[in-house]
């Protein structure tokens, strides 16, 4: 909606994007420019299309109308190494150890036939993976399988796995939704630290408003401005608020300091999320 950041040369340009499934319009008329290094948090009611927007950015699905440009080029039509992703669940491979989960990302692009590296290059990859795991605080669990890790450790692993690819964009779909508040705080600190270090562009869906405001440099609020009670699928969600937060301003904002119509739907639905 807003052009606050960057002009036509913005890192990511979303141009009049619509997404519909059959006659159900999920997203309509999305327009935005995202500068490189921005940390966008996406909030909005359940089912309003936040994950759908993330899938569009990931290239897992194509917009029904409009286009998304990355660095001026149309987005690749399938997931690739330029965009990393962390889901709420099923983000790590259950059959690989912690170390192999991260080293995999170094092996796959370099071994298009075997899918694995051998000998020296394998040792190098594992060395690099170990360093990355050290950064996220998992160096004591290298040989464990994901099922042996706690939920928070699994998400740390998923983040390490995504970051080892040095993606330009990191997409997070409610990554901490299943974690308890204490662990979530640690994860916020970790994520901010990694973001400051790498300056990558982050999109993070969250149901927790204060999480959205404390982490993001920009908050995108998805909502359906129009609702036809006779045809619930006729209108889609748009970005109704696009809030830029300056570095100094990035303090937790309570939901009640938001515009009333914005805060209303969240307070009931998401305070416990």
């Amino acid at each position: 909606m807003s052009d606050k950041k960057g002009g036509t040369g913005a890192f990511i340009q979303v141009k009049n994007v619509w997404k519909q499934y059959g006659d159900q319009v999920v997203l309509e008329r999305l327009n935005m420019n995202i500068a490189e290094g921005e940390f966008c948090t996406l909030v909005g009611a359940s089912g309003c299309g936040k994950s759908t927007f993330l899938r569009l950015l990931l290239g897992q699905e194509a917009p029904s109308r409009g286009e998304i440009l990355l660095d001026g080029q149309p987005l690749a039509a399938e997931p690739d190494v330029s965009r990393g992703v962390v889901f709420q669940r099923y983000s790590v491979f259950p059959h690989l150890s912690v170390l192999d989960n991260v080293a995999l990302g170094l092996e796959l692009p370099r071994a298009p036939f075997l899918g694995r590296l051998l000998g020296r290059s394998k040792r190098d990859a594992r060395e690099q993976a170990t360093q990355m795991l050290h950064k996220v605080g998992l160096d004591h669990a290298l040989d464990k399988y994901p099922a042996q890790l706690s939920g928070g450790m699994q998400q740390r692993l998923a983040i390490a796995q995504a970051l080892i690819m040095k993606p330009r964009v990191l997409l997070l779909d409610e990554p901490f939704g299943a974690l308890d508040p204490g662990i979530r705080k640690d994860m916020h600190a970790l994520l901010l630290e990694l973001w400051r270090e790498t300056r990558l562009t982050v999109f993070m869906v969250t149901h927790d408003l204060s999480e959205g405001f404390s982490l993001g440099s920009r908050v995108l609020v998805f909502d359906k401005p129009r609702i036809d009670p006779h045809a619930p699928g006729a209108y889609g969600a748009r970005v109704t608020y696009d809030i830029s937060l300056h570095d100094g301003h990035r303090t937790p904002v309570a939901a009640d300091s938001l515009p009333a119509d914005l805060a209303g739907p969240f307070q009931t639905a998401y305070q416990g999320a």
Binding site: V85, F93, L108, P112, G115, Y145, A162
Partner: protein, 271 residues
């Protein structure tokens, strides 16, 4: 306490496990003794003495005509056919299942085909196999392959579809192409399932083996059973059946141990 909340103690569990076997055995021995007392030439329920004499004759005495130890010859022939059939079926089922379950363009033609083929009763096409592949080893192995492959393929296709799409997406963001995605993600996830499926189809595999051996063969466990049936030689048939059961159980157990050993991360490995 409700029945659903009561479970046996450790020793109790063992005793309860042995109980039905002991009961069956006692029942058999009682009836066998009773019949042999009335008619010492009765063949229907031979005593353990008669059975061990038969085993002694077949397993530890060379055959008069060929000089072979028939029991072990039969066992080797049967296991070879069974092993070959299962191995071919496993590879074919895995390839078909992975292709149909992972690649939509392959699944579109393969899935309906596999579903229909798995409905063909394998024993009904046994005559065709004999006509096409002759009466030798090949037709017996093929019966197992044809009978088992569609079941394995269907199961593995289903399991491949159940791999969370998030993992397939994730692998692509880590730089996998279709081939390495199958190699590093799909195959490792399906291997333990293949072993579990093999355990489940083991019974059918033995059924097909024995049917094929009964109809056209010159050795094998199934062949022997159907051969001595003419003389009502229950003293041979019963030990053979027990031996087949033991072999099937041992294969099941080995596959289970193998699953646990190779895929410790897999939940099915625990059960």
């Amino acid at each position: 306490m409700r029945l659903i909340n009561r479970s046996p103690s450790r020793g109790g569990r063992l005793a309860l496990a042995i109980l039905p076997f002991a009961l069956l055995l006692a029942l058999y021995l009682a009836h066998s003794a009773q019949r042999l007392e009335l008619n010492p030439n009765d063949k229907l329920l031979p005593s353990f003495g008669q059975m061990s004499a038969a085993v002694e004759r077949l397993a530890f005495t060379p055959d008069e005509r060929s000089g072979d130890y028939l029991f072990w010859l039969d066992t080797a022939s049967s296991l070879k056919r069974l092993g070959t059939g299962l191995a071919i079926a496993a590879v074919a089922g895995l390839c078909l299942g992975v292709a149909a379950g992972t690649l939509p363009l392959f699944g579109a033609p393969l899935s309906p085909l596999i579903t229909v083929l798995s409905m063909v009763p394998p024993l009904a096409i046994l005559p065709i196999l004999f006509i096409v592949f002759g009466l030798g080893e090949l037709s017996k192995v093929m019966l197992i392959v044809i009978g088992i492959t569609p079941i394995l393929a269907r199961d593995l296709e289903q399991r491949a579809r159940e791999i969370p799409p998030e993992l397939l997406i994730k692998a692509q963001t880590l730089g996998a192409n279709t081939w390495t995605l199958i190699l590093r993600l799909v195959l490792p996830q399906l291997m333990p399932r293949l072993l579990i499926s093999l355990r489940l189809v083991m019974g059918s595999a033995w059924l097909f083996l024995i049917a094929a051996e009964a109809i056209a063969s010159t050795d094998g466990l199934g062949y022997r059973i159907f051969l001595v049936r003419r003389y009502m030689a229950m003293d041979v048939i019963l030990p053979y059946v027990a031996w087949i059961t033991l072999l099937a159980w041992a294969m099941d157990y080995l596959l289970w141990r193998l699953t646990r050993l190779l895929f410790p991360w897999h939940e099915g490995a625990k059960a």
